[in-house]
């Protein structure tokens, strides 16, 4: 599995809704208690593409994921996730890993992992087999019978990710998956995520406020601005990630993209 091989799949002009987009969001508007949260947001993510949304708190990043997953209904605009257009249709057919791990304290790691399969009527034996198949790669094979409180924060996030990806939906949403972790654990899990996610036939949307994380993981970065939430820039990440032995976050290309994004974000700050 080579994460760098996804690179060339990035469409050149991504704001144009491409025919083969797995996830197409167009002209989304969303209000909360009469305050506009999102205004005319359009994104399109192709098969095998990993897109990151970065922006300050309150710019509606998480709301956008809630709209795509079908948890919330948009005021205007349309969302098409692999052919599923209705909100209720998408609910349960888009993989979504929330910010908190949200593991059920009364279920073991294995039982938490297979929740999505269980809710969709997959037999216990079959779902357990699927969990066991991936447990090794997710680094949780030794803790399958443990309870969530026995795990570290990083391990809990791994379980939450496994729970999200096991139903094997083509669209995967990640909302600050490592936001609550310390810097060292976060860095190691970011590298791990690239290896563990079989993104070749998936469209992945990652929400983060960590610019480094976005550059490290994504093929393309959408920069958002708040009040109301909207997309202000669409940046391709054209860095050869290499083998991961050298710290690419020190490379000049990486720094250039980082400077560009930070500049866009800080300009938003002065406008406010």
């Amino acid at each position: 599995m080579s994460p760098a091989s996804n690179q060339q799949i990035s469409p050149n002009n991504s704001n144009v809704e491409s025919e083969d987009a797995l996830l197409a969001v167009s002209g989304i508007g969303f209000d909360y208690e009469n305050a506009p949260i999102l205004d005319d947001v359009s994104i399109s993510v192709g098969r095998g593409e990993f897109v990151a949304l970065v922006g300050p708190s309150g710019c509606g990043k998480s709301t956008l994921l809630n709209l795509i997953s079908g948890v919330l209904e948009a005021r205007e605009g349309s969302i098409n996730s692999n052919g599923l257009v209705g909100r209720a249709e998408r609910l349960g057919n888009v993989s979504y890993m929330q910010q908190k791990d949200l593991l059920l304290p009364w279920r073991t790691v294995a039982e938490n992992s297979r929740l999505g399969l269980e809710l969709n009527g997959v037999s216990k034996a079959e779902s357990n087999a699927q969990v066991e198949k991936l447990a090794e790669m997710f680094g949780i094979a030794d803790v399958l019978d443990q309870m969530p409180w026995q795990l570290s924060g990083g391990m809990r996030q791994r379980v939450a990710l496994l729970r999200a990806v096991l139903p094997d939906n083509p669209v995967l949403l990640l909302d600050e998956p490592f936001g609550a972790l310390d810097a060292i654990t976060r860095r190691s899990l970011q590298r791990w995520l690239l290896n563990v996610l079989d993104t070749a036939d998936k469209a992945v949307v990652l929400v983060t406020h960590d610019v480094d994380e976005a550059i490290l993981l994504a093929d393309r970065i959408l920069v958002m601005a708040p009040e109301p939430g909207r997309i202000i820039a669409d940046i391709d990440v054209d860095i050869e990630m290499g083998t991961g032995t050298t710290d690419i976050s020190m490379s000049p290309e990486f720094n250039k993209i980082r400077a560009n994004i930070l500049d866009l974000l800080s300009r938003q700050e002065t406008v406010r």
Partner: protein
């Protein structure tokens, strides 16, 4: 050696409770003696103990009747409260319809209702069970509704994104989340259930601790009244202990999200 160490620890932990209880009993005994209180007005603990020993078989026979009524009423209460709470959680319409009725049922002075129940349904066990249910279902409903509502909205959304049906969310998320609150209400209900039984028996029965108290009280056999009260307390404590044991067992199986017991007095 370890066993004796932990035994010693248990003794030390329970020492304050034992000392306070014994002091109260001794004070009662001494004060009755010092002020020369007539025993038909207030019998000392020693006389009550003797009364319990003398009429043990009689007490047990009536305790069994009261215990049976209490357990049946308690069980019906749990089922009724479970149904009502689920309905209230499930639909706003049910909530609007049922909640005012539940509140109204609690404003009825049961003392005035009990004699009417005897006329309506007779003097058999039904009238007592109805009074017990009226006494106990309310705390269970209130705590169960609060428990079912206490579920984390983010958890609900997580279930929805995994394709859960409303019934699956109810069954696999809300019920386990509601357990701590449910047991809090159940403990209140367990203790007051025996009061319901006594009130039910007071107005028309031929057996039970409540009937016994009424007869003995009328004949100024005050020691016997107190003996019945002691047995009644033991009955309530046993039911309470059973609820606590079930709670411990269930919460071990379904631990709540925040399960730390906070005691400000502990360092």
């Amino acid at each position: 050696m370890n066993t004796s160490g932990s035994l010693k620890k248990i003794l030390i932990e329970w020492l304050p409770a034992v000392v306070v209880t014994l002091t109260l009993i001794v004070a009662w005994e001494v004060l009755v003696d010092v002020f020369d209180v007539q025993h038909w007005l207030l019998p000392p603990p020693s006389v009550i103990v003797v009364e319990i020993a003398d009429s043990f078989g009689f007490l047990m026979r009536h305790a069994r009747v009261t215990a049976a009524e209490t357990l049946i009423g308690f069980a019906i209460s749990i089922l009724l409260a479970g149904g009502l709470s689920s309905g209230i959680i499930w639909s706003r319409t049910v909530e609007r319809t049922v909640y005012p009725l539940i509140i109204t049922s609690q404003t009825i002075p049961i003392i005035t209702l009990a004699p009417l129940l005897i006329i309506w349904v007779g003097t058999d066990i039904t009238s007592k069970v109805i009074v017990i249910v009226l006494f106990t279902f309310f705390p269970i409903v209130i705590s169960l509704v609060a428990g079912l509502r206490s579920v984390d909205q983010e958890m609900v959304d997580m279930f929805r994104t995994l394709g859960a049906s409303p019934w699956q969310i109810f069954q696999k998320l809300m019920i386990p989340s509601a357990l701590p609150n449910f047991f809090a209400g159940l403990k209140v209900a367990a203790v007051v259930s025996v009061i319901g039984a006594v009130i039910g028996e007071w107005f028309g029965s031929s057996a039970g601790l409540g009937w016994m108290m009424k007869i003995a009280g009328g004949q100024f056999q005050t020691a016997r009244v107190f003996a019945a009260i002691v047995v009644l307390s033991i009955l309530a404590m046993a039911l309470f202990a059973a609820v606590v044991a079930t709670e411990k067992w269930m919460l071990k199986k379904y631990p709540p999200t925040a399960n730390r017991v906070i005691r400000l007095g502990d360092s």
